[in-house]
Symmetry: C2
Subunit: 397 residues, 2 copies
């Protein structure tokens, strides 16, 4: 198949591009290098050293004999994106090409507006390009489990059957997202569902949990194929940050009580899920939603797992509870369905000591690159102005 | 109270500004004249002749002794809007300042992107300006009943209590909007609800039905105070179009079967509802939703009412069923709650022969201004390119 990976230079985009190329698909990546530029905004960088996209593609070609095409430009610029789609004629588009950090969207008004405009316009452009040039193309869109928030009832996969005053309908699951970023994904989901209805587009919305891990079958081939490992307060996700804190001898910073429960998955399962979605496309006009995670944990449980693994490796690890910079429930019911990808054949890599140990190994290998000043949260949800991008260093909440 | 009316030069904004000024409030309007500019895009204009905003304000001052301030600029430009809010210090902001036509948003990609960016960014700017400068200010936001779509269960006012797998929660009512415009209102609603939660903003989301009528207590004072009457295929609403068609001797064009049921209200009730919301504000941090309509009709029923009234006035009136340019159910269950505004004291003006006759009178008075070529629908939901703005004349569906 011909597959276009939007955001194909990013944390998940690049491993996905290699994975699909390795399986024999014809792959093109589209990227505007925004993620690399955001690092400069904060004086941050990936813990793992990164080659340029051009070097990555050349290395992949040399080592595997397979080529990956690259279109460098911005999805919000239709004069760039439309000809790229017309030229490449994808059978599937995997859409990671969005601003994907909740704290980034909460820095201030400019970052909130940027996040929503960037994500919404990019996705509208993708929908129009599909309708106009590749109407049978399958859109595989990365959403987030954060679209649902933390309702007091079971979370279903995209839709819920409601009986009310004696009548019944199956309706989009109510959304209660917790940041301007998460809101942008909710807006995308509504827009995509509508376009499937009016134009007959086929789409899979992958409401993904928090991804951990950095090694995939393909990144492991050569260090020049490595993907990002973010641990800073803006782009770093929780497990990465905890392991960096443990290795740096810093306390693990749990936001609030740590009872916040979320869905998680291994990066290798992200690649497997995207591939399963592509190989099992929806019908024309069908909008379907898969909840893409394999296990639920709360933040304190993750901190305790990292503490145990660190101490096993001989590091003393402390856990600190910080005042929560986010506005979220710290103790709540959480039970989310996630059977549709298992039904398609997903074989999960569950989080275990071996995986945590391998992440410790990566972090220890690059220990000298840790910038401790970047780890603390610099963005407070209750403020409309956070100085993180003004000083170049995060401000403690 | 100090009340700022965003979109205060528009169909509802101007009558609202006068109504609130007439009740003794200190009123400022904010407008960028976009609605007048869109007329030039299509070679259209209001059936009722309109004075400029400056002439309207001068006339109002002369006739009532009351002044209305005006800030002319674009809500999406924060360097304009922030100082306006800081300067005026509103106790309430009534937000009509959005692109409000579904067909306009469905013309093509540019109009879809414009509508969503314009509406979302404008509303984000309003939310930030309130949080930063007038944190106690009450946001009265115009939404639309179209956010809900046509579910097969009763529509509630913003939230629904769901019992699922033995647990219960009250959650945002699921949304199934039917155009990029209606989607923009859904996006706004999610953004506003979130800002109430994180910043303690108080907001009322008025999910309004289709408004009809052109005369209010204040517009009736002097013809220079008249508000718009749109009948074109892009901005005209259904009852207006039918009456213009009847007066012009054209068949009434019912889209499809005409079984599409919607909520409707008289323009005078819009003003009353907005005033009731302002006088009964929500608590700090509260996001509430009122369904703002007074009666449900389907499109065919309205056509039949106009036909009957026209024939009573001696005009032969035909009804034609057109292929539906929209993608919507033409026969469906529809039962939407609308008790919250009645509980606050709304006394509805129901649609009756007298009101329809008075609309006929307005149209007959301005009969020579009717441009017949503008009445037909020029925008087809199934197309990604509609030529309406290219040729200056609508293209038949």
């Amino acid at each position: 198949m011909r597959i276009m990976v939007l955001g194909g230079d990013g944390y998940l985009g690049w491993p996905t591009a290699m994975h699909l190329s390795g399986r024999g698909h014809t792959v093109a990546v589209v990227d505007n290098m925004a993620r690399r530029a955001w690092d400069y905004e904060f004086g941050a960088e990936s813990l793992t050293p990164l080659c340029s996209l051009q070097e990555r593609i050349a290395t992949w070609q040399t080592l595997t004999g397979r080529s990956i095409a690259a279109y460098i430009g911005d999805l919000t610029d239709y004069t760039f994106f439309e000809p790229a789609v017309r030229d490449f004629q994808p059978d599937a588009i995997v859409h990671y090409g969005e601003q994907r950090a909740a704290p980034y969207s909460m820095i201030d008004r400019r970052h909130a507006v940027f996040t929503q405009v960037n994500n919404i316009v990019g996705t509208l452009n993708v929908l129009y390009a599909i309708a106009d040039h590749v109407p049978d193309c399958h859109l595989v869109k990365l959403g987030t489990m954060g679209e649902y928030g933390t309702p007091n009832i079971d979370i279903e996969e995209g839709f819920i059957t409601i009986t009310h005053n004696g009548r019944t309908d199956t309706l989009p699951y109510p959304k209660q997202p917790g940041s301007f970023y998460h809101l942008s994904k909710v807006h995308d989901s509504h827009n995509i569902m509508f376009c499937c209805r009016i134009w007959g587009i086929r789409a899979t919305d992958l409401n993904q949990g928090v991804v951990y891990g950095v090694d995939t079958e393909e990144t492991a081939i050569d260090e020049r194929l490595a993907t990002r490992f973010d641990y800073d307060g803006v782009f770093g996700t929780v497990l990465n940050r905890f392991i960096v804190q443990a290795v740096a001898g810093l306390p693990l910073t749990v936001y609030g009580q740590g009872g916040q429960t979320r869905g998680f998955l291994d990066i290798r399962d992200t690649l497997a899920c995207v591939e399963l979605a592509i190989l099992n496309p929806p019908d024309k006009g069908e909008y379907r939603v898969f909840n893409q995670f394999t296990e639920q944990f709360n933040v304190l449980e993750l901190a305790q797992a990292v503490k145990a693994a660190g101490e096993e490796l001989g590091m003393p690890v402390m856990i600190h509870n910080l005042p929560n910079p986010r506005v979220e429930r710290e103790s709540h019911y959480y039970n989310a369905a996630h059977t549709k990808l298992l039904d398609l054949g997903l074989k999960p890599h569950y989080l275990n000591e071996t995986l945590i140990d391998s992440m410790f190994e990566v972090v220890q290998q690059h220990r000298s690159r840790i910038k401790e000043e970047l780890v603390m949260p610099g963005v407070d949800w209750r403020r409309t102005h956070n100085e993180v991008a003004v000083t170049g260093a995060p401000v403690a909440a």
